[in-house]
Symmetry: C3
Subunit: 172 residues, 3 copies
């Protein structure tokens, strides 16, 4: 069972001007896989606040995966990638490439997401777009990879035949 955190990043949700449809949709999607959404937060588009929360979810709560939604675009208030880059140990560029590449099958605007994927300690952090459709489609595009990434971050490497055999089986 994967312990996940959902973090919605949106000034207008914080201000009560919009409902958090993306966060709610992601929670449903994650739970439909049998994983647990153990943490849920709504944050403003403030880099310091976002970085602090991502660090806490990794260092204190030991969430296995944190998915954020919102703040990945080109508007001046969109700072989620910068706030994420400030706290990850290593980036995994191919995962965000997959989300953009798959997303472009729905809309060319998927190319504009600046979202990152990376790890902090043993916690995987994935930036998803802000729209409900974009968030869910991007999550779906990479969800099958998450258990394997979580395994790798917890030291179950590809060199251990048992773990990797099972994971690859599931994926292929």
């Amino acid at each position: 069972m994967i312990l996940a955190a959902v973090v919605t990043i949106s000034d207008s949700v914080v201000a009560g001007r919009r409902e958090d449809r993306s966060g709610v949709a992601l929670k449903e999607r994650i739970e439909a896989r049998g994983w647990s959404v153990s943490w849920y937060d709504v944050l403003p588009d403030e880099a310091d606040v976002i970085s602090a929360k991502l660090s806490d979810l990794a260092d204190v709560d030991h969430a296995q995966v944190v998915v954020t939604t919102g703040g990945t675009g080109m508007a001046l208030r969109d700072v989620t990638p910068e706030a994420t880059r400030a706290v990850i140990d290593r980036e995994i560029p191919g995962v965000s490439e997959v989300m953009r590449s798959e997303g472009r099958k729905s809309t060319p605007l998927a190319a504009l997401s600046r979202g990152l994927t990376g790890s902090r300690g043993t916690t995987l952090i994935v930036n998803l777009p802000g729209s409900p459709k974009g968030a869910v489609e991007s999550f779906d595009a990479i969800a099958d990879l998450i258990p394997h990434m979580v395994d790798l971050l917890h030291g179950k490497t590809q060199h251990e035949p048992d773990a990797s055999a099972v994971s690859k089986q599931k994926l292929l």
Copy 2:
């Protein structure tokens, strides 16, 4: 109407050893969309010169989009990506991914372009390859995204239904 700048970066064009076929082809392509090419420059492959011109086009001239052609390859004199990175506020990696991915349908050499896409203030900066064919094909691959990116950089965010509805309509 979009106000665009075309910047050709080529030692040999500056030296008069070659004509600027790429810059001319891009100007035609941009004007064929009904946009205005309000600035046109030819620069040597010198990082400081390129960075200064890109900064001026953004900070002083407030160009909406700057397209460069040339200097994105692997030769020692190719410094356009470095000169661009030095002056952008934020990178938008997916746009250059699209250009390389689409370009590979014409030639596998498209993978070698190190061109960046990013923004400085409200100005969008896009590095295109140096060959006339590569420059035009890369521009065509992302041209439909430019009006939307310009809107986002000027504060018309995806959260404003009117603006985004129109833009998405055009794109889909």
Copy 3:
């Protein structure tokens, strides 16, 4: 004739717990192209050791291309991309994009490779995945580009019609 180096990066091969199947497979693959594997090394997953070897192969040995295998994943001991980034002058992101994109046709796990491609002086450095299948498939995906990249790094630019005409001919 291309002078290549193969560098296997694996704690367990160094410790004698595993055979270097990936390095051996790459050597065969490279020689099958008529290129020479002039250097072959097996290194532990230690960033300093890897960086020093890559620098030596570029600065002292003047290898034309260095392919590494191993250490590109997400495990804590996987430091090949960081060790490579520390010594390259410039990154060529599209080449690693091609390897991941082509690799995903075999397995979605290809998205997890964090391998880089870049140059140090006139030496091309390419990080390949650690599994024999992943290493060979990734090499095959970009091998046709290597002679052209080597040419460009040695000053045979796309602006010289003779050299580029031949190379493009071969590739298309």
